[in-house]
Symmetry: C2
Subunit: 472 residues, 2 copies
């Protein structure tokens, strides 16, 4: 509708909400914290699903579906799990007109119900590995919500694998982390850092959690995907053992990993500008839009030419805007708001000259191209946009990442615009908590320690480099 | 596992359950009435989703996502709707550690939440039509459940469209019914009859419900898809008006339509036999399986040849069974249980002769084919199987459909093996109820009346031909 969007500089949070609502990606629902994903937002998620799902299948995983409703007692079987999820549970107490004997929880994640089933399916090493993924809705009763980034109900995929050895499970954990990294970087044009989480930040029930983290335009971190090595925690909670090749009995090893509709939020925040949404071509539902510009006397000629050009672009996802109500200027602004990577403008003079005008969404740059060159130019423009969005985001992240050795400097860094602070850390939760309390920054991921490094807080010998940031 | 399946003649219901469990399509879950869809069952649903989703997009629909949780008061806004769904609702009363102010219902269907949103999105005729579909889980607290066919939670798609005129909405209703018919017949090889439902059988909140109905091998009817003309019922309940081109205000016209994971049950029941699952090739996740037969000394040669044959079948969905634990006989039985349409057997002598043996799952017929002919023969076999499954099901339905004019004969028909009984019907609910009470058969669909027809129950002038059947 070409409505005004709040500029980023003025109010970053409002800018984000404006884009989501005005580009019709999502809307608030009557139930607090739940959102409606509108067709233009859902099309982004569908593109992501298609790509990620192929990557899962290429790495040997199959999809399945487990029930939404989980007996409350299941959630309690793994001590850390219940501690972490208990405050966020939504509970069904009545159904079919009667009070239930045992309340049922709406899944906040499916480890418990899945491991209850794996107990039935796993007897011997020949039943392993199990490599299952599920696309589903999950519910976590969040106090503060934000469209796409944190909602009470969200859509996600959750992989749940079962293995005969610890090594194999760790390998799977890292393999899927790498699938997420590849997807984020090559498709979403989202440069990420990846690594292990601290004890405080890990998944409730995991031995180790690994994550990919991206920097948004306000310099905050956004966790874009997690992969957990669960050890034998859930196998023990649900008594899932298997007979090894030697005939011994052992508990099964597990992983789980997920990405959610939060990625749509990440995509919006990472690349968009004050004119609206900017979408990397590889995940754009529409890669190019043809906007014919005509009056009554030129309509037929221009439209015929536009369709002809459209016909030469069969290799791309293309829309033609045949609307006759709005002015060209209005339409250009509208397609910019909607984030289509390339706009193809065609007026009567272009028809006469056998040309078209191509406009890049990211830079606004215009090129006039003879008709025969349109497919080749569109192709190279899409590649350039994809690359350039990634490079721009990467440069921004690098410019806003600082290695910090002094606690005073760390505090100053987060009093200012902030970003990613790479600091030596002793591994002690108290130092981590102190930083969190005094700067609101948390450890996003851990990396290998700098030799001879000293903890930025207490000065003790460092166990790791911690990347601190304020996070979504 | 090549386990024994209960024969259809012995116990049809158990035969069905045996196939579902032994072909690892689904499993019972710890929550009563909910099922787990295992990878082999989910792969069938995924194939169906892919195809149906393309058909929706080809008819101009987009996907979106609406919340699972619906305020209880919404469900009460349409009088018939609440009456129909109230006994089946599951209700969330607590979340985030607190009692909710208003209980939330887990969607049994989404008309109410969607029309609450359409009120926000529709102002003028220019906002119409809205053509949205949603893939989602829904919950209906059923007393008696049966894997795939009737479960407390199931997966489905629900289309919800909004139109400026009654004519357009009726056209949409029938268009989507036709999409379902095409999908059932051309992909599932499931011949269906279609038509309007009686008042008693229609969707709670609809003006008219249309359905496609298929006959299973036990001669019962299975409703495989429904399409509803909702009139202005939901627009009135949620006060959704629009400004017409003339500047008047009118309520918006609506449709909704859906198919569910029940289709997987229909597929299993319609075509399978006492050896296991039979899947029509067009929806089979694996169209052909290559089973190499070797001993230690022939292993390398046979496997290399099998891979070579596999390499020539790039146009098909093919698996190679490289398992070395089980005997050829065991494997053949296993692949029959799993329902793969074509089995390609390759032994050392086939390698020497440059041939393979092709076996049809539906008939067990074997053909020996020279290697160069494998792709062409597989292609024609798959086409023949698809056609033959459809023809067989159609012949069976025709043989078990009877036009009945006398009430005594109708009762006798349903005391016996039953089937579809086509009878003149006066349109009176009392006659319908009498048939239901005395034969357990219900009206599946209504067709045009036979001229001069007289109601099979009361003898009054017929308003329609009713197709009666016992139904799932």
């Amino acid at each position: 509708m070409a409505e005004k969007i709040t500029p980023r500089d003025e109010d970053y949070a409002q800018w984000y909400v404006d884009i989501v609502l005005k580009a019709r990606l999502a809307d608030y629902s009557p139930v607090k914290g739940c959102m409606v994903i509108r067709p233009r937002g859902f099309a982004l998620w569908e593109r992501m699903q298609d790509i990620i799902d192929s990557m899962f299948k290429a790495t040997g995983h199959s999809n399945a579906y487990f029930p939404l409703l989980i007996p409350e007692s299941f959630i309690r079987k793994e001590a850390e799990h219940i501690e972490g999820f208990s405050p966020e549970l939504a509970i069904v107490t009545h159904a079919g007109g009667e009070k239930l004997e045992e309340p049922l929880v709406l899944r906040p994640t499916s480890e418990t119900i899945i491991w209850a089933m794996y107990k039935k399916w796993i007897q011997s090493y020949r039943d392993l590995p199990i490599l299952i993924n599920q696309w589903a809705n999950v519910l976590r009763w969040e106090k503060r919500t934000r469209l796409f980034l944190r909602t009470t109900e969200f859509l996600w995929q959750e992989g749940h694998t079962a293995h005969a050895t610890s090594e194999e499970a760790v390998e799977e954990t890292l393999k899927m982390l790498n699938v997420y990294r590849t997807f984020a970087e090559e498709y979403l044009a989202l440069p990420v850092i990846s690594g292990r989480k601290s004890e405080q930040e890990k998944f409730a029930g995991a031995v180790d959690t690994y994550a990919i983290e991206a920097m948004m335009q306000d310099r905050r971190a956004l966790q874009a995907g997690t992969s957990h090595f669960l050890g034998q925690n859930f196998a023990k909670a649900f008594d899932v053992t298997y007979q090894t090749a030697n005939g011994d009995l052992d508990y099964v090893w597990a992983t789980s990993w997920g990405v959610s509709t939060r990625l749509v939020g990440a995509l919006i925040m990472a690349h968009s500008d004050d004119r609206g949404l900017v979408v990397p071509p590889r995940v754009a539902p529409t890669e190019a839009v043809i906007v014919p510009i005509f009056k009554n006397d030129t309509k037929e000629r221009v439209l015929a030419y536009a369709r002809e050009i459209g016909g030469t672009l069969g290799d791309f996802r293309v829309e033609i805007d045949t609307d006759e109500q709005n002015s060209p200027g209005w339409k250009f602004a509208e397609w910019e708001l909607l984030g289509v990577p390339v706009r193809i403008e065609i007026g009567p003079r272009d028809v006469d000259a056998g040309k078209v005008v191509l406009v890049r969404r990211d830079t606004g740059e215009k090129t006039t191209v003879p008709r025969n060159n349109v497919p080749a130019t569109v192709k190279s423009l899409l590649q350039e946009i994809q690359k350039s969005l990634y490079e721009k985001a990467k440069t921004f992240r690098e410019e806003n990442t600082r290695v910090i050795g002094e606690y005073g400097e760390l505090k100053e860094f987060f009093d200012g615009p902030g970003g990613f602070a790479v600091c030596s850390w002793c591994g002690n939760g108290e130092c981590e908590t102190k930083v969190k309390d005094e700067t609101k920054a948390t450890i996003r991921i851990l990396q290998d320690p700098t030799p001879e490094g000293r903890c930025v807080v207490c000065g003790n010998a460092a166990q790791a480099n911690a990347v601190f940031a304020k996070a979504y």
